[in-house]
Symmetry: C2
Subunit: 328 residues, 2 copies
């Protein structure tokens, strides 16, 4: 078996984020659940966009943000995801490549536009995401480059993709190619509502093909249908090689074969916009483990990367992450 040439190959939605400030009343009037992600169709996207304030466009996408974070930390990463042959698709491809991630967009096919996520940032720095998946939803197993996946030490899957039948097949294929090549498979549960929609299958994944699972408190508690984080932690213990449970300002808990490790959060320089905090935590953790660091150090690197993202708008790093993590 050859040595992997990449650290992380990420599979996820290829999305351009449109960030705008909004107040709680704007969310309440439209029944938008603060802090969550809901899928919207083209008409809903048009209506919501019209009502929103002026926006700023940043490339996003959960696993794509993670791939960028790994590259920013000095790791080698690639991304698999679908865009349309349009201006936002060009923006997405430019930004992820300019960040040092290997990305060859699959050949575009006629159909919906590149995905956009209308993100409303409230004064408490929480983000409420409304995603029009467009072309991103059309990813399928044929888009999974088996050689690329096999070349990555860890294949990282975005839970959000599970909502799309073809994308689900793409994820299953990527996981199977990775395992056949002797690589590891990681996945983020993405969102508590997403877990709720796919609980049975996510439980099978955690107990089956996954080596590493990332979840925040709401997601792991939703997975095991409990109100208690401790109960959820006990439930996941022993089911998967590593469960990395993030708890916002309370830090993270790494559930590993040798025990449970608590890692404190890193304080952000400012609390501006939490978009991408989980994605960048995962980037830091994955960079840590793929560069041979211990689990606690990997958690610390994740905490620093998450703190950087929270301190500004957008889910891609602006500061020099490599420099921020020197000393860990």
């Amino acid at each position: 078996m050859t040595e992997p040439t990449l650290d992380v190959v990420a599979l996820g939605n290829a999305i351009v984020d449109v960030l705008s400030n909004a107040d709680d009343a704007f969310l309440a009037e439209r029944d938008l659940a603060k802090g969550g992600m809901q899928l919207i169709d083209q008409d809903q996207a048009t209506t919501l966009y019209r009502a929103m304030g002026p926006g700023v466009e940043h490339s996003g996408g959960s696993a794509a943000n993670t791939a960028v974070g790994v590259a920013a930390l000095g790791g080698r990463s690639a991304f698999i995801g679908r865009v349309q042959d349009d201006q936002l698709g060009e923006v997405f491809a430019h930004d992820i490549r300019a960040a040092g991630v290997i990305y060859a967009p699959p050949t575009a096919k006629p159909g919906p536009a590149t995905a956009r996520c209308l993100i409303l940032v409230t004064p408490d720095a929480q983000r409420t995401m409304n995603t029009f998946l467009g072309a991103s939803a059309e990813i399928g197993p044929d888009d999974v480059d088996a050689d690329l996946v096999a070349s990555g030490r860890i294949t990282y899957l975005e839970g959000y993709l599970w909502d799309q039948p073809l994308a689900k097949q793409a994820m299953r294929r990527a996981a199977s190619v990775a395992r056949d090549a002797g690589r590891q498979v990681a996945m983020s549960l993405s969102d508590a509502f997403c877990v709720d929609r796919h609980r049975a299958e996510f439980l099978e994944l955690v107990e089956g093909p996954l080596d590493i699972v990332f979840a925040n408190e709401a997601e792991i508690m939703s997975l095991y249908q409990t109100d208690s984080f401790e109960t959820a932690l006990d439930a996941v213990r022993g089911k998967v090689q590593l469960a990395v449970l993030t708890r916002s300002e309370k830090g993270c808990v790494i559930v590993a074969p040798d025990g449970v490790h608590d890692v404190p959060a890193s304080p952000p320089t400012a609390l501006v916009d939490t978009t991408g905090a989980g994605d960048l935590f995962a980037a830091g953790f994955l960079h840590g483990v793929t560069s041979g660091r211990g689990l606690v150090d990997a958690g610390r690197i994740g905490a620093v990367a998450a703190a950087e993202i929270i301190s500004h708008y957008g889910a891609r790093p602006e500061a020099d992450l490599k420099q921020l993590v020197t000393g860990i």
Copy 2:
């Protein structure tokens, strides 16, 4: 003659800015003049975009920024400019309307894409602009809605438009409609290189149809081909009703029939990105005079609006400008 229903009708380029950080070496390698604006074609735009780092997209355009600033200060403004029927055109139209500016894009015609300006921001907060004009360059006299222009107290023209023959006709038509309706005409000289390209015509405009001219030090010195700001100031005196000369951190000088008024700059909370500083100064000044304030107060409002823009990336206000200028 009816009373105007709008304060400012702005005519200019409809552009989406792509902001990216760059260092001085990046500019030097490509012979880009720091702080200036150069026009680039589609091929140059593609080459430069490929070389640039990850970007963030903000709506921009010099006169469009001014129209947004007027609205943010509580004034009534409209914008005239051309976009293509594409994603960036949609972004431009959304953002300017969401900011409270009246904007009805002229019917799109087949041709180049919506304009984009690749803006390289160096660590000293200076911006170097590389503009692919695309659809924006195709504005012509037919796009000037005479009723709209006649309804504005001041018609504000962007000097950059003078580079395009048809756009120049659009500017001449707007100025003529405004004057026939008994309104005032203002213009920004936009850029020292732009002044250099059109000196003779700009001198005719200043001494002819214009009531108010906005220029920074480099622009007014280029107009009168002198190395001395004092010489340029003496030269413009008496040639135009109002010459508003901005001098960055040295504040501004208002050359009026009743004398010359110095107004100090307003200190920004941070020095991040100077993109749009002149546009927002003009917005504040125009809002001041259209709301019946004295010239010095108008200059102070301009200074506060400029300081806000400098303190963050992008050329559209993020803070509540109305609140920032209470007390002036």
